[in-house]
Symmetry: C2
Subunit: 335 residues, 2 copies
């Protein structure tokens, strides 16, 4: 299966390492046969080789030089003309650009009937309905398992719930704010907590994406689009961040037996889907309160069963890459 | 799709109601077309009609008379001779009979290349490897989603984790003991707590199956067989129940900030799978401690990701039926 990568940041590099130097540590990868014919980055050059790029060498080269050579073609030119089977879109979410340029990348592949696997939240958050329709029409896969809760198989699970209807959900989707809130409760300042999250490598470079709830809103929009057929984007999610919370306020809640969490919610109200993101105080014995540190959680409500929880405990660096790999297997088995 | 039901207890009756009188409440069922050609019970008669049994009428008749007419054939004769596509095995686990007669029922269907959906823990707990091999050989489905954590899609999720290897798991699988332990912590006696669970309809008629850890051991064996290729049965699981726990002991742990839970564990030790069931004290801020009342939880460890949790919050009467329905959809889509 021939792949083109767009984006070669933390996730792309992790993926490249798992597929090459670390491959023997992951016995499940033995059946995945991927030939990389292009790697494109926004500001750090590109590689193209129809005969197949040595991903291990490319990774080493990128780490040594912090870039690839200059690209002979633009990303869109490449996606429209190269021979490949699956686009692996790993660029990062832009709220300001409403999910672009990732949406254009995805559309370009799907238009040609080529499969798409993306860890970028933009396409499913800003253009899910159109892209999913395009994928169906052209018999291509449009997969984004790692866009919400990394490799935790949320969307696979949704596809497995045959016969059930999802009626709503709530969750803790943003790891950085969950971590920061734990630190505030322990008495640390907002600034210090954010700096720690950045140093540990899981906060966005622009912390407002996390702190103002944009990342959580994007994930809420994706889940509402997929599970509740909502056709909304992150700008339509009612949103309050945690930027104005203080350690004192969080400690006061804790003293009263309550824990502050950034909770995302979606449900039907008068036949319309309502989505919200904002800090809430939850009782200490609630499952949300037990989702600590870098954890995340989804509570899914259906018409047939009691609420179903999926919780991610302390995701590591490979969790997002694992979601991309699951999607690549799904594409491979669909061919 | 023509189905034969074996067993018509709580789950069978719930399923029959959801497929008939309640059908309009579950829009997801519109694509499931099931023709029931036989219903067999162990001691309460049977129905056979190649032209299709009216499941709604059969349910009403069974509730009025507490039985069906006497059977013209035995279950095994029927499974070997009737024309059907899927066996829906809903009889109950027998530890004493090592999963029989359910295992024979399942084998009889699979031998003919017919699909099997079962909520009975026996077949996968006592004979997983042989039955799974038989199913593969004869290109038939052998599904048992509701055998562990009701309709929570544990096994679907396992199938979705492409490329990952499961390295171990732990969990709270027995609802009755979890409920009883909560009551003990609240100061109730063991006898009173068990009676409440029986009155609410979710304890086994023979409470020792729950209290001595047999139900938990059966579920642990199934998960170890499926996820860790263990080839063990419930008798090989190291097992301690909660029968000798007192309210005072549980309260003492609670006063020390710890909660008693019946925890199931499986992992690799010196290249062999080790499985255990027994009461453990967990810290109050642990996710296991937050699984209250009738809840259940699975913590799955893999080679690529941080631990993945699936938690069932207060399952209702339809949860087990929902698992059977998911499996029936899987069978239908495989045909």
């Amino acid at each position: 299966m021939r792949a083109v990568f767009v984006g070669f940041g933390n996730v792309g590099q992790r993926l490249a390492a798992m597929l090459t130097v670390e491959r023997s540590s992951f016995p499940g990868l033995k059946d995945l046969h991927l030939k990389t014919v292009g790697i494109f980055t926004r500001r750090r050059g590109s590689l193209v080789d129809a005969a197949g790029i040595d991903l291990g060498k490319a990774l080493q080269q990128f780490r040594e030089n912090s870039r690839f050579p200059a690209a002979p073609v633009t990303v869109l030119q490449a996606l429209e003309t190269l021979d490949y089977d699956v686009l692996v879109e790993l660029s990062t979410l832009s709220i300001a650009d409403k999910g672009e340029p990732a949406i254009s990348h995805v559309r370009s592949a799907l238009k040609r009937g080529l499969h798409v696997v993306t860890a970028n939240k933009g396409p499913a958050a800003f253009a899910y309905r159109k892209l999913a329709a395009l994928a169906r029409k052209n018999k291509a896969q449009f997969l984004f398992e790692s866009a919400v809760m990394d490799g935790t198989p949320i969307f696979s699970l949704g596809r497995a719930l045959h016969g059930l209807s999802v009626t709503g959900f709530s969750g803790i989707f943003n790891t950085t704010t969950n971590f920061v809130l734990s630190r505030l409760e322990a008495g640390e300042s907002m600034d210090a907590a954010v700096r720690t999250a950045q140093r540990l490598g899981f906060a966005e470079a622009d912390p407002s994406l996390d702190l103002e709830g944009w990342d959580a809103a994007a994930k809420t929009a994706i889940l509402a689009n997929v599970f509740l057929d909502a056709d909304i984007d992150p700008l339509q999610v009612e949103r309050r961040g945690i930027g104005d919370l203080t350690s004192a306020a969080v400690a006061k809640a804790a003293a009263a037996g309550r824990r502050v969490k950034l909770i995302c919610r979606a449900g039907l109200e008068n036949g319309k889907v309502r989505t919200q993101v904002g800090p809430e105080e939850v009782p200490m014995d609630h499952l949300f309160a037990a989702v600590s540190g870098k954890g995340a959680a989804l509570r899914l409500e259906t018409d047939m069963m009691g609420p179903l929880w999926i919780i991610q405990e302390e995701p590591g660096l490979s969790d997002t890459a694992a979601g991309v790999l699951q999607d690549l297997f799904t594409v491979a088995s669909s061919r």
